[in-house]
Subunit: 501 residues, 4 copies
């Protein structure tokens, strides 16, 4: 019997549906913050545009003028939500944080949209969070039992309540005390009346970088947001580091026990933008290297290398370079076809509609095609693309994944299906080849991926990256999950609060 309570009794109006057919892993968030600049909210909106790929369901900005906070949050793309010419009138001040969101934990309700805000007795605090806490339910249950009222079902609100209940005097100390209760992966930006705070979990699973724009400090999930606003890259926030930015500049704290970093490999494989540099590595270069390594591991006798756009392009360029085969745009992506694509009747669904991708016949007809995708999750999209390529006239289709087989679910902020739906977790390579209807199938090896990342090999003792989706090696405890599986869970619900006194 399941001992985990439902997250909330409340069904708010205003939820929105996900496109359940979609077969992409999804990140839940991008975050951005700036301190010490006129029109801070407008710069934040610009930064969020560059982070739109990290979350397209909702977005929000909170700003502060040193005394009051201003906040605006909506479902929709950044460009649809923040359109008004009165933006800087409505969201005043010299500091701001922002958030783009795809929901994993929490559900698609407007009250889950970030940034979130709390009035503390020392003044307000707003936070925006990328990542996922693995002990969220555990902490939330204790807080509710102690009388905290949650307005959202988001794991981010837990952090606010922990800060609110801390008895430390300085807000930065209250913030760090709150972080020490958390397990999982997180990159956080927080805004108080006097400062901007950035924080990364002890393993640095989720990314966060520091930039400067004239005299203002900037925090962002990826460097592409710095490029967008013309800011210069300073450095990554380190794993386990908390940075405090105020009128005295930047100050660094290390509130956690020292550990080696283990950044998430999927940022490199799929999430980050190709023009970003994450933890010192160019995403574009790394993906080309994955393609070259894939060509070494899984060559094929073929005529053309064709990417599944857009994410498969850099690996395809690497594969083409290594293999000497020509690179061709055999598939065209429909950039305008989004979540709202309509398929009202079975009759329409049966037409074989090309949603996100269309075949470029001239580049496929009569060809032996090496088709390269960044990864294969459930395989439902892959088989459609293989079929489409074949129907467009390809003689052979050799499918290649520029990352290893995905075998295990993620709990750190990536929205993946359950294990029973992960293709590679449930089938042999030959079964997969038949299911995906391709002439040959190849995945980059885990060791090959580490090579592409610049390491000789994966260190099995202290792996250099978070890679559980490929290996099952989770980098942190999975408290909520274990508790959900554990019938006899009877944890003393108030220990947390006791310890925070």
């Amino acid at each position: 019997m399941l001992s985990v309570p439902p997250l909330s009794d409340l069904v708010d109006t205003g939820a929105f549906a996900r496109d359940i057919e979609d077969d992409r892993p999804r990140l839940e968030c991008g975050v951005f913050g700036i301190y010490g600049m006129d029109d801070a909210s407008a710069v934040t909106v610009l930064g969020l545009h560059a982070l739109q790929h990290r979350g397209q369901e909702a977005c929000g900005v909170a700003s502060c003028d040193g005394r009051r906070f201003y906040i605006e949050r909506e479902h929709g793309l950044v460009g649809d939500v923040f359109t008004g010419y009165d933006l800087t009138q409505k969201l005043q001040g010299h500091s701001a944080i922002g958030h783009t969101r795809y929901s994993t934990a929490g559900g698609a309700f407007i009250r889950n949209v970030q940034p979130m805000f709390a009035d503390l007795d020392q003044g307000g605090i707003a936070i925006a969070h990328n990542g996922n806490l693995t002990n969220f339910m555990n902490v939330r249950t204790k807080l509710v039992a102690a009388g905290s009222i949650f307005q959202s079902t988001s794991d981010s609100e837990v952090i606010l309540h922990l800060v609110a209940r801390s008895r430390e005097l300085r807000i930065i100390d209250r913030f760090m005390e709150a972080l020490r209760h958390l397990e999982g992966g997180f990159a956080l930006v927080a805004l108080t009346r006097k400062m901007l705070i950035g924080a990364r979990d002890p393993l640095g699973i989720r990314p966060l970088v520091i930039g400067k724009l004239n005299n203002a400090y900037v925090l962002a999930s990826e460097t592409c947001a710095l490029d967008m606003i013309g800011a210069t890259f300073v450095r990554d926030v380190e794993h386990g580091e908390v940075v405090q930015i105020d009128e005295n500049g930047l100050k660094s704290y290390k509130p956690f026990d020292a550990r080696a970093a283990r950044p998430c490999l999927f940022e490199y494989v799929y999430f980050a933008r190709p023009d970003s540099v994450v933890n010192g590595k160019s995403i574009y270069e790394v993906r080309k290297a994955m393609g070259r390594q894939l060509a070494i591991e899984h060559a094929a006798d073929a005529d053309v290398v064709v990417p599944v756009p857009d994410s498969g392009v850099p690996a395809s360029l690497g594969f083409a370079e290594q293999s000497g085969l020509p690179f061709e745009l055999g598939i065209i992506r429909n950039h305008y076809v989004g979540r709202t694509f309509i398929q009202p009747t079975q009759h329409i669904r049966d037409l074989g509609v090309r949603k996100k991708h269309s075949p470029n016949r001239v580049a496929l007809e009569g060809k032996r095609v090496i088709l390269i995708d960044d990864s294969i999750v459930r395989g439902t999209t892959s088989v459609k693309i293989v079929r489409m390529v074949r129907e467009a006239g390809a003689k052979e289709v050799h499918l290649r994944s520029a990352s290893p087989p995905i075998m295990w679910p993620d709990f750190y902020g990536i929205d993946m299906p359950d294990r029973e739906k992960l293709l590679a977790a449930n089938h042999t390579l030959e079964e997969m080849r038949q299911m995906l209807e391709c002439d040959s199938l190849g995945f980059l090896s885990v060791e090959g991926l580490y090579k592409a990342m610049g390491h000789n090999r994966r260190d099995p003792e202290t792996p250099q990256f978070t890679d559980h989706y490929f290996t099952g090696d989770y980098p942190t405890p999975l408290t909520d999950r274990e508790q959900a599986l554990d019938e006899s869970s009877s944890i003393g619900q108030l220990s947390l609060l006791a310890s925070s006194n």
Copy 2:
């Protein structure tokens, strides 16, 4: 120096402006609840239609199907917010509560719109509140210091936090413990998974009635909401009474020390609908009696009795009956002219536009007019109406108020201006007559009002009604107000929490 902190650092987007020209006192709310009926949310919406006069800025409904809660809240009139034919799909269940709102405490933000909801560890609770707490800031400050996070600036949320932090086991006991921390006037409806709760403050300042519709129990601010849905009136919730309605029927609690009731006189003078019966008295009859008494106290040599519609009509009928003068509709109310009435330029404002009232010349021309309004607050509307009547040809205008001079502000849920703006608080009768530009002016006396209410006289020891706006005799402590005026306020902020452990 003022020691009260600002309510919140947060400026949310989505506030809306009040019509600052309006010279009416306003009630903040009407509440409604039903337990044990199919389509409970739809019945609740019907009930809210009948309570629309108690709050036109926003409304909301929360329903419960025994397991989950469903909630919808919006700015706007009930008929504009709850239009969908999918209402009962969206707001499911056999019990529901609803709320219409005009904001006094809290400001006009969407997050202040009620009902409000909290997940407790025993399950959710939703509340809707009519009235105002006079120690709201005091309790809120203590709760924030103890780590509670407030999402609204409404005094109603204080009640939720007190319930959440109570250590009582039964939810009804937690609810009553919370109520004992409150000062002021309140009529509350609350919904849990298993029950509907109604409560009235110890003095019964705000009204609340019980009805039955087939087997279902109904709670409502006024009997007109019972009439709207075809329910029968059972009785008033008594002052200081808490009623618990569940599958076992209705159960009554008296959590407060016994005191005599002091219902608010302004419900009779202005707020309640004429077809309602409040605390056993017909509003229509009482208002006619006020008019008759007014005719006795302030007769005039005149030709016609003309009401300021709509609220002045019953008193005018009484006055006409007592005086033998004909009753005429000398002023027509523009029912379609609401909050959004446009006056874009000074040029337009100078035109002398008739907003809410138009003169019916044929009933005024050449006449000596007795003009009857329910009350006079700042006098800004009254003078415009007097002028309009005179410009329409009236020979004389004798202005009469069917209630005594308003001298003191209210803190129990009526939105009145500060004392310095109350006409009667700052001027003699003759000054007022000159300012209102009328030929004679008369107010009903306090003793006359008590007579119209069916009493021989006001009992000065234990007055039968809340009447401070006329007398300055406030029925409860005014903790927040005193604290705001008291420079040296240094209350031990955690005593409340200590006592609730």
Copy 3:
């Protein structure tokens, strides 16, 4: 077999439903115009507020700055559509016309919302129209055959096309030539670059008045719109008169053969606001006179006179005065319950919900009630009110109609049901009494109505008013109707165009 073609092949999106339960006759429109004033569009919006009772489904304003026209039209009440503070920015100029609409002809599509506009080769023209043309289909069919493209299904667009095709040189002559093709009832305002035009049909069926506001001329359906903006009444536009208002002042034309006026009686019975003066007669006084006459014709042994609010109030005051019985507000109108009132399930519909009216028990209980309504159409509302009054405790209910039995449909701009649904057209008085469940029933006589209007008797040769709904005596040909009934209609479709060349 019906020979009339469907009005249009087009089903536009954006239609809206009527409240089919409603048992009121409805007017289709109010019109307003102003020439020679700053912020003309804002003044027009104010005027439309006062004409809101003449049409609540949609509204629109067109303004002109002497060179360009600006137009805005929407579904909704005036106060909901014209809210913006940028109104005079968007709708510029010193002249403007406006329209409130309830749709009879044309259907509820946005492209039918007025004012309508056309670019002529001499410059643009906008028109707004109150009334209904009885040869609309006939003219439209001819125009379509000659190549005119209609964008709406409104009869008003016919006028624009006739103006556009006229070969007269001056726009006022083109306008008058167009009017000569029309049959039916109309009050029109039109705006060109240089002038404001007003026109009334040859019988003056629909009303239109002239006012002045400083130096600006105003046209409006009723005088209450003049009062709203502070304008003074000048005179009625005469029946069959066209007025041209431009920088040289007002000029009058009489383009039709001279005939006696026959204004519509229903304006007096129900449509016009009580504070309006129509064709020199005060609506309020006339209705009181109807009530007095009704008391003479249909007295009853009773305790109280109770109006069906709001339209029954003046007649009730007259009845009470004549009969010496007390006037009581036994029924309260719910002003907030409009078109959107929700009744989602049969279960809810069966509750006996009080929609527009609530009983005021204290005024009804144990009483013999004379219940007065302005008119009885289908009787569906009346029977509900009689039942409601009885359920509230009335001992007897004597229903009185302050107008004669309605026997015939209208074709001049009043939305009434077909003849088979008109109660009085299909039943004897005793049958009606039984169906309406009242103890006695009385209608004002036609002669009594003419008396209340100030005439000794109805002149059967040339009746003083349009009164076909009571008498069947239609004042104009009913071309479209006859053609629809005439199987062998084979009219030369191009004769009109020939004549206009």
Copy 4:
């Protein structure tokens, strides 16, 4: 003095602003039609998704069930406008046409959004139009003088009026008569109760193709719309051909004098999607050929070939192939940054914000870059990109345009700036090189472009393509333009109408 009148006196509300900074030529429309299929409107919406690149400001669909027409038109992207699951309920029938729009002629008003509809006396007709008429004003002026009322300022409405006024008996003959009055470029789809019509101007300037989906015929601007819905390509509609599709299948007409085709080259250079086949030529292959030819004409000593995405990619692949240099994604396109990108203050504008493109530093740093764009119009975008590439570390930037210098404006449906703003029309190559701040600059030659298109050379007598933007050789008269320039224009305004009688 200018003799052309303003298009309309009317300023409607609801216009929307263009992004005036944008430096792309724009097409005004894509069209789609289908006959003989269930859910025709839903298939049409799918087709419009694939044509979204041809117009992103507005879209519309009209369907017909054989008797009535249904229409919906809105500003916005197809995916935003047509989201409802009730689409096929609202837009019923077995035939439909659709339109995506970017406005050149007509202005950005909702009443200009297509399809447009007219009730004729034989029944309704809806049309959707891609292209631009060069004698639009001339014809419109005559029609207005003859009494036609225009509801839009779009040139498409002219066609409807010509059809409406034709005295031919069959609708297809009326349609063809109308077309014979037109000059310019057009691809039209039209829908009547019984048939779908497609038409292409005598030179075939704008494209239109025929497909089949099961038994249904499909018309679309590009083959990519056929691929989207799974239809098979049948053939292009020929230049000067009118096709009539009804229950008897497809019938072809040739209403114009025979001439050689001259399709628009810009479809190949920029507009059409790379996976489309236009007039028998693969866009992708043609663009690669342009790149190869460009490498032959304008080689450079460099390290990498970098496209300006997305339109420069195929030419870059061709250039890289021909030159042997590596192809690199040195610039990343921000797909989410659209029209609504916010730049509220000068301060923000000065930041050097990267709107549509971001640099991929790792691919540019220290490199000699050949930068390839499809074309250069005003040069304002090009110089920003050159700077951005240089700031990202490129040692040299060699800019190449895969099309010849643009010297002349277009009047056939491409939105280009006036001649004085066309960079190449006003500067020498060296001036341009300096203004664009590049190390070298090269344009594909006109002869090279014809080679890439598969011809040995441009035929100067009867050029194979419309190419006036490069050559000044306009393929049709420019009546409106000449009339606007001709002071003494005094054309007999009614000759057209005379001839159509």
